[in-house]
Structures are given as C-alpha cells and as structure tokens.
Amino acid sequence: MSLAELICPAGTPAALRTAVDAGADAVYCGFQDATNARNFPGLNFTPDELAASVTYAHGKGAKVLLALNTYPPAGKVDLWRQAADTGARLGVDAFIVADMGVADYIARTHPGVRLHLSVQAAASSPEAIRYYCQNFGVKRVVLPRILTIPEIREIRKEIPCEIETFIFGNHGLMVEGRCSLTNYLTGQSTNMDGVCSPASDVEYKRHEDGSMSSQLAGFTIDCFGADEKAGYPTICKGRYTAPHRPEGYYAFEEPVSLNLSRLLPDLIDAGVHAFKIEGRQRSKSYVRGVVSAFRQAVDDIRAGREANIADLVALTEGQKQTQGAFETKKWR
C-alpha cells in the first residue's frame, strides 16, 4: 500500500499552521510574487514568514513544499532562481516546479532538495515523466486531472517516481500550464504571472431582479440568476451565448469542484503516493474542514476501516462536485 500522504494548501502562515494542526503530512505554499500559480493580492509568504513556518511544520513532523510552478519569461529567470535559493536556505523539503529551466537550476544548485513536477508541467505520459526524472532527478509527479484510475495504474508501472494526484478542490480546464484564456482578456498570464483572473480585473454587479453578473476585464463571463449558486470568475467556467445557444451555456467547463473522497481506496491501490488538496486561495476555515475530513478518511483506510468522509459540498464551487476524468473520460 502507498503511504497516501496528505498534501495540503496554505496561502498564509496561519493557514499553514491550521493545515499542520489538522493533520497535513505536507503543506505547499509560495512566495508573494510571480514564482507561483496563486500570485493573488494579500496572499502568500515573505521569506521571514516561510522560515517561521518551516520551523513550525518541522516541529510537528510535517513537510513544507515550495511552489515555484510558473514559467519565467525570457530574461526574468533570476526571480525564480532567487526564490529557489531562498527556499533551500530556509530548509523547505521540496520544490514544486513546472519549467525545465527552473528544474535544471535547482537540480544543479540544490541537489539535496527534492524536486516535484507540478501539474502545471502537464506531464501525462510515461515518456514525458521519465524524461523529467532522468534529466532533473524529479522524485514525484503531480498528474494532470485528465487521467482515469486505470491509466494512472499503468503509468505507475512505467515510471521511476512517486505519483501525486489532486483529490479535492478547483477543477480547472484540463490543459494545465498551457491555458492562455486569462492572458487573452487581461494581458496577465496564469502561467508566467501566476494569476488566473486577477482580482483587479474582476467586477461583480448586482441587478434589480436579484441576479448577479461577473465580469473580467469588462467582459461579462456569467450572470447568475437570483436563485443560482455562483462560481469563480474564470473564463473557463464562464457561461456564454452563441447563435445556436441563445440561452447561454458553459462552453468549456461548469463551476464544479473535484471531490475524490469515494475513490481514495482505488487511488491508493493504483499506487498513488500522495493526495493533493487544492485551495491556497481559500480560508483557514476551508483548510481546517477539508484537511480534517481527508485526514480521517486516509487514516480509516490505512487502518482497514471504511472511510466515512464528511460532506464537503458546501465548500465546493457552485456547490457541485465531480469525480471528473478519474471516474470516466466521458464526464463532461
């Protein structure tokens, strides 16, 4: 049986402590800049905060993984290198990387620190994953959310590293690391600036009939009826009208969250080493609730008991959840 480590999100030092106290085996976080894919206003860690957080986590037996999972634009790689140097100096347990140049720098400069391949690298074939392992010493791959469990099982047999899969949280468009939708409207890049739907470009408007529209860079991307649940203001979750769909439809993806709580035993059996919970942009309340629920579930499974996981639908986007491609390729 795999170790089934629980990898939990933290957007602030307080959230990191909350995750550790709730039973995280490892917490992932990032600096307050473009080196990570949750470069949101008021979120993330200063170097001093990360130092204190590493001390706190290690004191309680938890690891800290530093997300450096964006792509440096040409000529700006120094920011990523400095972040790696700082992380190594502060004693983080692993770097989560997507860019080959960043991976190469860390492999050469900080060979003692583990490298995990971010979902943003979108490595979904044994050949691609092996390439990262052989050339940069990658120890773990975070798989894109496009694979079924039988496919994960087959990949596991053909690669020399651990597998981490998302089990809960935001369920974005299935081309991680290659999505340019935000860039198209706002000029800021999810993959290079680390921000999907920057808050400075988001606006919500109330209407007299109780509906609410969400806009990104002045473009309306959804309008929720008075009694409808809402989702994130991302283009991939937008609802659009078209000549053949005048009523509006979700062209890419619906507002829905991933929840694989029922598939945990199958994932463990398939050889998944670590379970990732999405949500560095969420609150301590979310971290506490989701981490505690999955801690209990994983412990139950390890002990041979049936997992009885708490209902987490209230924390999901649009208050809807899916098992996505993990259950079937026909999910959408």
């Binding site: 602030t12 307080a14 606006e203 609150s283």
Partner: protein, 168 residues
C-alpha cells in the same frame, strides 16, 4: 444558509432613520476602541492590505440598523457606524448577514463558499476585498472573542447574545 443578502429583511420603516443615527452614536466609541486594539495586536494585517490601506470599505450587515465604514489606514484608522442613507462612496462593499460577516472575520466560515452560496455579496474593487479577506485570515484566534474580552464579562455576554440573536 440560503437567503441572498438582498432578500433579507432590512431594518426599515418610520423612525428608522432616527434609530439608525442614535445607534451609530451609541456604538461609535466601542468601534473606535475595537479597531485601535486590533490594529495594535495584529500589525501584520496592514502589510497584506498593501495599496488598499486607504480604500473605503462599506460593510453592510443587513439586519443591523446601520452600515459600517472601514478605512484601514494605519496612520489614520477609521471604523465608524453610518446610517445607510449616509454611507460614503465605497471602494468596495461587502454585504451579508451579521453573523456570517462575524464568522468570516474569524475564519469560522469560508468566504469563497459564502460567495458561491450567494450568502455573501461583494461589489466594487474586488482586489481590495480579496486583500482584506487574506489579511484577516492570517490572524490567529478570534477577533470577535478578543473584542468581547476587551469589555470583560459584559462583553462576553453581549457576544453570546449577538450569536443567539443573529444565527447564520
């Protein structure tokens, strides 16, 4: 939680304007004391607010007879109760039931979830709201409990009474 903030009954009717103004006068000394104390105990809040320290936030707890106006400028903190017909031009407005807003401040509820369920409504500068949310979320412990403690047993009793009076 189910009713949208704008469908909840508001304090309204003859005499409400006078009541709102009287209420504002009564709570203002408490608000001033509270915000100064929180700022002193949690100075890291201001770093996360960044350029929005000077933003005017209107916090509209729909059941209360007044709204709250917050400008989290560490050099000139402002937290005041204002009648709804006299609210300033807001950089951002946050609207919801009183207890939900209190629990969001204390990270007992998740802001995104409250937004998804439509129990929380945000208008104006979204970045300002995101910064305020993240700043408050990095505070350990309960700001509500801290505030109650400032006033000793009467403070704790009032908080308990508010929690009973304004369920989420």
């Amino acid at each position: 939680m189910s009713a949208r903030p704008d469908t909840l009954p508001r304090a309204s009717g003859p005499g409400m304007s006078t009541l709102a103004r009287l209420s504002c006068l009564m709570v203002q000394p408490i608000l001033t004391r509270v915000v100064r104390r929180i700022a002193k105990r949690h100075p890291s809040l201001f770093a996360r607010l960044g350029p929005h320290q000077g933003t005017d936030f209107v916090i509209d707890a729909v059941e209360l007879p007044f709204a709250l106006h917050l400008r989290p400028d560490p050099q000139a903190l402002l937290f005041r109760a204002v009648p709804r017909d006299a609210t300033p031009e807001a950089g951002a407005t946050i609207r919801g039931k009183f207890m939900l807003l209190l629990e969001l401040v204390d990270s007992e509820e998740d802001g995104d979830a409250a937004f998804f369920s439509r129990d929380l409504e945000v208008t104006g500068d979204t970045e300002a709201v995101v910064r305020l949310r993240n700043a408050l979320d990095d505070v350990d412990g309960s700001i509500a409990e801290e505030t109650a403690e400032m006033f000793g047993p009467p403070g704790r009793a009032i908080l308990a009474r508010l929690r009973r009076a304004y369920p989420t």
